[in-house]
Symmetry: C2
Subunit: 212 residues, 2 copies
DNA sequence: CCGCATCCAACAAGATACTG
DNA sequence: CAGTATCTTGTTGGATGCGG
């Protein structure tokens, strides 16, 4: 990208991560951890291979990620964020929190990955009842499964399944995400196609962070 | 900008503010308050008039700013952020804090405005001695003046001059900014061309916020 | 398959000139 | 002053190819 040529830390940050796709590449590496070219491509539907390749080179040159040949079991290059790259987490958090306000708008053609939903409760909610015992919520949105754990007064999340969750939420991403982030209530979520099984009072423990 | 087409709040945020120049337009409106087309253009050296015009239209359509015909004394259109637009402040803060790490690199051709320096201590430092009496620092970087006030345990800033400051810092932007944000020490800043007059012990009150 | 490199049509950005 | 019109250039997305 062409530099803005301004002595301003916002402009200099954008000189590096302001290009199209760049912050989404960082998002994928932040959410997935070190991964291969193909994993990144799967997590970035719509990106052209040459462009992803270019972005990875730029990010490596800027010192935000490293490219390393993984040991035999993988036998291919792995991309991983450096400390400077991981330091972008507050940027992604701030952007993601601000962007929540647009998640109620329906856009049927949007692609979806469970990872994109899983980070939301972890980043944008806190445990309203830290003293209560741990609990596990299984989420399935658009067929993709994720697990939300409420434990030690914190919210953790990951993709995948768990046996015997305390609560099971299944439905379209809009309903699941809206409910988990407190944007819509249970009744409305069910109206959007959400099915609920288990201890629904657990939902009250997910307290949205203040939006400022 | 073409949408990323992903149901992810980060991607949706970038659908709206991910275009080139867009976040810098928001920065100017955030730092300057409501202003005219020309004021924006002056605060965005390098932007083409047609592009600025396009961005303003897009931001208005997205509900991030309003365009209003100002009353007689100004007699021209004023652009102002809406609440959704102002809600981007945490994004700009996070980006600006992350970008500080690149501000030590010298790029002689970068343009500079006092406003771009003034927000840094206000956003990225706190008053290490909240009980101490108020103090005023006059800063002049690259000929552009700004005022930093340390008061009520907080750091405020604005462009302009004040009579009889407690401390006067004058020098190239890199020296002034580095010193104010705690990236470099006084000795190094003086090596970079900073001149200091007054109560230099005031500098100890500017405590950098943790970088995570 | 993985990790790109190459090619091309469509689009966005930058510079400059111009108008109400 | 506050933009618009036009032109040129650069970037992107998408398809395809290709060695390891």
């Amino acid at each position: 990208m062409r530099s803005y040529g301004q002595y301003c830390s916002i402009a200099r940050a954008l000189d590096i991560v302001g290009d199209r796709w760049t912050l989404l590449v960082v998002r994928e590496l932040m959410l997935q951890g070190p991964c291969r070219f193909t994993d990144l491509k799967k997590g970035l539907p719509g990106v052209a291979a040459n462009l992803l390749s270019a972005r990875l080179k730029e990010l490596e040159a800027a010192g935000l990620l490293t490219r390393e040949d993984a040991p035999p079991p993988v036998a291919t290059a792995l991309y991983a964020l450096t400390e400077d790259g991981r330091a972008l987490e507050p940027v992604l958090r701030a952007l993601g929190l601000w962007g929540l306000r647009f998640m109620t708008e329906e856009r049927p053609d949007d692609s979806f990955r469970a990872r994109w939903l899983a980070y939301a409760p972890a980043w944008f909610t806190t445990d309203a009842d830290p003293g209560a015992p741990p609990a596990v919520i299984q989420v399935v949105a658009s067929g993709e499964p994720a697990v939300i754990e409420v434990r030690d007064g914190r919210i953790h999340s990951r993709t995948g399944r768990v046996t015997d969750p305390d609560l099971l939420l299944e439905g379209p991403p809009r309903a699941v995400l809206g409910l988990l982030t407190g944007v819509i209530d249970l009744e409305l979520a069910q109206g959007l196609g959400l099915s609920v099984r288990g201890r629904r009072e657990l939902l009250a423990r997910l307290r949205p962070v203040p939006r400022d």
